[in-house]
């Protein structure tokens, strides 16, 4: 199935991947943004975003995927996502309490409703997406360096 970790799979897989990977990414972002209206939310959407990267990496090999987003950038983005969530939590102190939902609630059933919930979803989405991708990248890099050690 996997011919060579450097170059990835066959042409058929690569062509299909080129078509679908953007859609998967978009779907993940949709799920993240609509977490307060429909099922899903930051976590599920974040995993879908991570899966779109994993998909690309499986099809094209490690190098191309890593050129789009490196381990360093991934772990930095993850920390930023985590800090953003903490910042949303601290925003509550504006109203006097940790985690208070201070922003206007808006009208239900629209995208810009429910105060801080949407920002929480976005920051969790960023965090989870790049975090899980970073795990996968680290595992692949480990295997690759091992193969180089052996040869």
């Amino acid at each position: 199935m996997i011919k060579d970790p450097r170059t990835g799979m066959t042409l058929i897989v690569k062509t299909i991947t080129r078509l679908t990977v953007g859609l998967i990414l978009l779907f993940g972002i949709y799920i993240i943004l609509h977490g307060h209206i429909s099922p899903g939310g930051g976590f599920a959407g974040g995993v879908i975003v991570a899966l779109s990267f994993v998909h690309m990496m499986l099809a094209f090999g490690k190098d191309i995927a890593a050129s789009k987003i490196s381990t360093n950038l991934a772990s930095n983005l993850e920390s930023i996502g985590a800090l953003m969530f903490l910042a949303v939590a601290l925003l509550g102190f504006l109203g006097g309490t940790f985690f208070l939902n201070v922003l206007a609630k808006g009208t239900p059933f629209t995208l810009f409703s429910s105060g801080t919930i949407i920002f929480s979803n976005i920051s969790i989405g960023i965090k989870v997406g790049v975090g899980l991708f970073a795990i996968f990248l680290a595992l692949v890099i480990l295997e690759k360096s091992k193969q180089e050690d052996n040869s």
Partner: protein
């Protein structure tokens, strides 16, 4: 600014430190060291301030409603006597260990990751101690556990990875039992707030549910606390970690995750029965004697210390299991003392490892000539753990034994005395082989460890010597408040709910 507003800082400060270290630690030199020092100082100050705050609070309890939701609809944080006591213990040890690690971790690569995980572990323990919500307790327990699994494997040598794997499996099974227990309680009471749950359980008769849930929790938290039938992971995991982490694991992690959580749930939510106390005392006495016997035959310094941790946890459970105010006082006081001297001993073993590069007692010898600070502090700690008079270990053991005799459990008192004598024998061996005797040839040009490590060890040693002052009248309320929380039992619900309404 209401006084209760400092309560969430116990979680926010270490979390912010962890996130910032992982973001900036790679780029800014010395950032991780500065951030970790600052956050540990801040946490220590906050925990001491919380004691002062509690003294002026009318009902000796403060409740913080996270997100402004009134419990039981939202999560609340509860600061009472026991919480303040545990917070001081955890943050005190964490502060000294953090300072020690600044120099010690030069042996390992990638310091920022270490400090991130360290900070997360402290955050998990603080969050677990301060929460008033059962599921939240589980979440923070998992944070602390996962950080400790990773930290045990931090050296990435074969032995460390194996120990970490074993620890992680045992810990996850324990978490599964705890989660199942929480699920049963939720199904029965339909609430997760601890105070509310205690109130519901008091008024709702049941025959099988509470004993079954008790057994689940006893298995789960017993595994986390390494009580004797569940102790198999500890002698592998604790020695394998870097020495500063061993100090945290043995010093405070097993107490916060095991003893504190168990005691809080059983005394304040479920309510203790005579059967339960008997089981707790039996397991405590068993751990005490069995582990010390196993420790006698060890030659690896850190492994020996790990077995002693199990044994000393036994003392704590014996004291708390007596159920009398005096017994609980002894148990909690011993918890505090043990966290001081056991972390000091692990830090000593780390200093020897740092300077000499071995953990095997047979390869050491005469180190008091080249490492006077390490030798001196380890002598203090050894005498404390063995219960020799002026040191702090003596007072807490004495209180436990007196409480045993008062309640008529002469057998358990005798067990405690025997275990204490065996502990003394075991540490005589350590002192004889490691520090006294002939200095071995290869060791003549060994230097004492850097000042950060010396500072931590000296401070902890001074606190071990002066530990007895905790029983003097002006400091005793600190312990007495913690004991009162447990003695009140399930009246916890009333006390907290009254504070919520106010």
């Amino acid at each position: 600014m209401k006084p209760a507003n400092i309560i969430p800082l116990f979680v926010i400060v270490p979390l912010a430190a962890a996130f910032l270290i992982s973001l900036l630690g790679k780029y800014v030199r010395r950032f991780s060291s500065a951030a970790i020092s600052l956050s540990s100082v801040l946490l220590l100050a906050l925990s001491l301030y919380s004691c002062v705050l509690l003294k002026s609070a009318p009902a000796k309890v403060l409740v913080y409603k996270v997100g402004g939701w009134i419990p039981p609809f939202g999560i609340c944080m509860v600061l009472d006597g026991l919480t303040a006591f545990m917070l001081v213990t955890v943050n005190l040890v964490a502060f000294f260990v953090a300072i020690y690690s600044l120099a010690y971790m030069n042996k390992y690569t990638d310091k920022p990751k270490f400090f991130t995980l360290f900070s997360l572990m402290v955050c998990g323990m603080n969050g677990l101690i301060i929460t008033g919500d059962l599921f939240n307790l589980f979440v923070f327990l998992e944070i602390a556990s996962i950080a400790s699994y990773a930290l045990v494997a931090f050296g990435t040598e074969a032995e460390e990875l194996e120990a970490s794997f074993k620890y992680a499996i045992m810990g996850s099974v324990a978490s599964a039992f705890i989660f199942l227990g929480i699920a049963f309680l939720y199904g029965f009471t339909s609430t997760l707030n601890m105070a509310d749950m205690a109130a519901v359980l008091n008024n709702k008769p049941n025959l099988w549910l509470l004993p079954f849930v008790s057994v689940l929790f006893l298995m789960g938290f017993g595994l986390k606390a390494a009580l004797v039938p569940f102790h198999a992971w500890l002698p592998d995991a604790h020695p394998s970690a870097p020495a500063s982490i061993s100090a945290m694991l043995s010093g405070v992690l097993i107490k916060a995750l095991g003893v504190y959580a168990l005691v809080r749930i059983f005394f304040n939510i479920i309510g203790v029965t005579h059967t339960f106390l008997t089981i707790l005392m039996f397991l405590g006495a068993l751990s005490m004697v069995a582990a010390v016997i196993l420790a006698l035959s060890q030659w690896d310094f850190k492994r020996l210390l790990a077995y002693h941790s199990i044994s000393q946890i036994g003392y704590i459970f014996l004291g708390i299991g007596l159920g009398t105010p005096l017994g609980i006082l002894g148990g909690l006081f011993h918890l505090f003392n043990h966290s001081l001297f056991k972390s000091l001993l692990f830090l000593n073993s780390g200093a020897i490892d740092y300077a000499v590069g071995t953990r095997d007692l047979r390869e050491m010898g005469g180190l008091n000539k080249v490492m006077p600070v390490t030798a001196g502090t380890s002598l203090v700690a050894s005498l404390s753990i063995a219960g020799i008079p002026p040191f702090n270990g003596f007072f807490s053991k004495l209180i436990i034994i007196i409480a045993c005799i008062q309640k008529g459990y002469l057998g358990y008192g005798l067990c405690a005395v025997i275990a204490s004598i065996l502990t003394l024998a075991s540490f005589m061996k350590v002192q004889k082989y490691a520090f006294f005797g002939q200095l071995k040839g290869g060791f003549t040009n060994i230097k004492e460890v850097p000042w950060q490590m010396k500072f931590s060890m000296l401070c902890l040693a001074i606190m071990c010597i002066a530990g007895g002052v905790m029983l003097l009248p002006f400091l005793k309320p600190f312990l007495k408040d913690a004991v009162n929380v447990l003695v009140e039992g399930t009246r916890y619900a009333e006390i907290v709910m009254r504070e919520v309404v106010r």
